[in-house]
Amino acid sequence: MIAHLYDILALPFVRYAIASLAVGSVVAGILGPFILMRRIGFIVGGISHALLGVVGIGILFGLSPFWMAILGAVFLSLLIAWIERRMGRGYSDFSIAVVWTLGMSLGILSLSRVRGYAPDIVSYLFGNVLLLRGKDVFFASIVAGILILVFGLFYRQMTLICVDEEFATAQGMRVRFFYYLLFTMIGLGIVVLLKAFGIILMISMLIIPSAIASLLVDRLSQVWLVSMAIALFASIGGFFVAYAMDFSVAPVVAILLSLIYLIVLIVKR
């Protein structure tokens, strides 16, 4: 059994997959509670689908899909944030829906002008954890490092604008700056997880672990740690289950996370 495990871990693609799942768990653990508190879970699906437009335009004009995806995710996050600020809090669903449909429509139009098949867009929107390379893990680690640094410095400010923006203004905080910084970080997190995991697993990882953690503990400081632990447990555990049963990793992890959530919900509520 142990020897078999060593054999599995000796495979480079397995090591890259596990490393990226671990890094992804950290990213999900950091961002998830903010997405939960701000009630913008819909943003994860919105940006990932709207990226079709940005990456599609990039492919049409021969630009790097990698950089287009990064810049696009940040731009789309900021656009959603800007629309929400103009509309007023509570209208995030509307701002996300606008960006979602705009992005996908632009993507369909631009790709219709691309001659032949556009394989790059498939890899950016439906990434596969088993196809990752060392540089993908490195890039994900860089983004995770940026997130740790930014949230380590400003997590109290970010928390306050999620909980009580009016009080934050009264405190003299630069609310707009932190608001856009939060959305920029969410955009970065989404693009790195999207490339590594694909849409299904990315949405699961960013939403469900923090939702489970918020049912289990009453302190935000604990929610971050518990979210990371749940994401790590479900993703690594799901990876080996999928490997053993010859299933695709993303749906197995997503199902595992969903089941944990439902069980905790039944037990705790």
Partner: protein
């Protein structure tokens, strides 16, 4: 009176939403350690006045000074307790963390931060609730936590927007005892309330707002006379929240 003598100095303040001024030409001076009750009918601009003082709502005219300094400089010493804070049950924030948000941006060390929070939790008898989720508390407990969040920054000026609205009588008495202590310590307090009967027992001054400041003076007989003079309606009606129609009819 010199501006420097005023803890809160407001001159010709106007603010509003869209094309409409909700408050206009507000001027007042509150000395250190004064407890002011702010009354007026719904829509009179009481909360708007707070928001304009705090800079949450941009002022259209006028100036606001705290001990002679612009609010931007003194902001860290102004405590604000909103009427109500809507938070979803899923928000995983403990009482201690909620109170700690009052110190955001103050540049306080972790150890001092802990001491500040301990002190204010102890003072408001909230220590036993420190690890409880904020959203799981009763309305009265939540109100006390929001007051603690305002007090943790050790303000010189405290603005409370209808803090007694969701409190039972013992809690209300507890709050007024606390405010009396704070006043004795030199903190200037402005509290919005609809209950003139209660206010007149605890405040030093009363201001009556109906877009403009229509009365600012001492409570009791003078208050009754002042409000009757300003609104031409009986004070007991104001105290029970019924006179809004009359106020509109007789207001300026």
């Amino acid at each position: 009176m010199r501006i420097d003598d005023c803890c809160l100095y407001v001159k010709d303040l106007s603010a509003g939403y869209g094309g409409r001024n909700v408050i206009e030409g507000i001027s007042l001076c509150l000395k250190r350690g004064v407890f002011l009750g702010l009354i007026g009918p719904n829509g009179a601009g009481k909360t708007t006045l707070f928001k304009a003082i705090l800079g949450i709502l941009p002022k259209r005219t006028g100036e606001v000074l705290v001990f002679g300094q612009p609010v931007d400089i003194m902001r860290s010493r102004i405590g604000y307790v909103p009427q109500y804070l809507h938070t979803d049950m899923v928000v995983p924030l403990s009482v201690e963390e909620m109170v700690g948000l009052g110190l955001v941006g103050r540049g306080i060390s972790v150890e001092n931060r802990r001491n500040y929070i301990d002190d204010v939790l102890n003072r408001l008898s909230l220590t036993h609730l420190r690890d409880r989720r904020y959203t799981s508390l009763s309305m009265g407990e939540k109100q006390r936590v929001l007051i603690a969040r305002a007090l943790v920054k050790q303000p010189v000026l405290l603005l409370l927007d209808e803090p007694t609205a969701s409190l039972d009588e013992p809690s209300e008495q507890g709050l007024f005892s606390l405010l009396e202590e704070l006043k004795q310590e030199g903190i200037t307090i402005v509290m919005i309330s609809h209950d003139i009967g209660v206010l007149s027992r605890v405040v030093d001054e009363v201001a009556c707002l109906n877009r403009r400041l229509v009365y600012h003076g001492r409570p009791g007989e003078e208050l009754a006379a002042g409000i009757e003079g300003a609104y031409k309606c009986p004070v007991d009606l104001i105290a029970h929240g019924a006179p809004h129609k009359i106020l509109k009819e007789h207001g300026e």
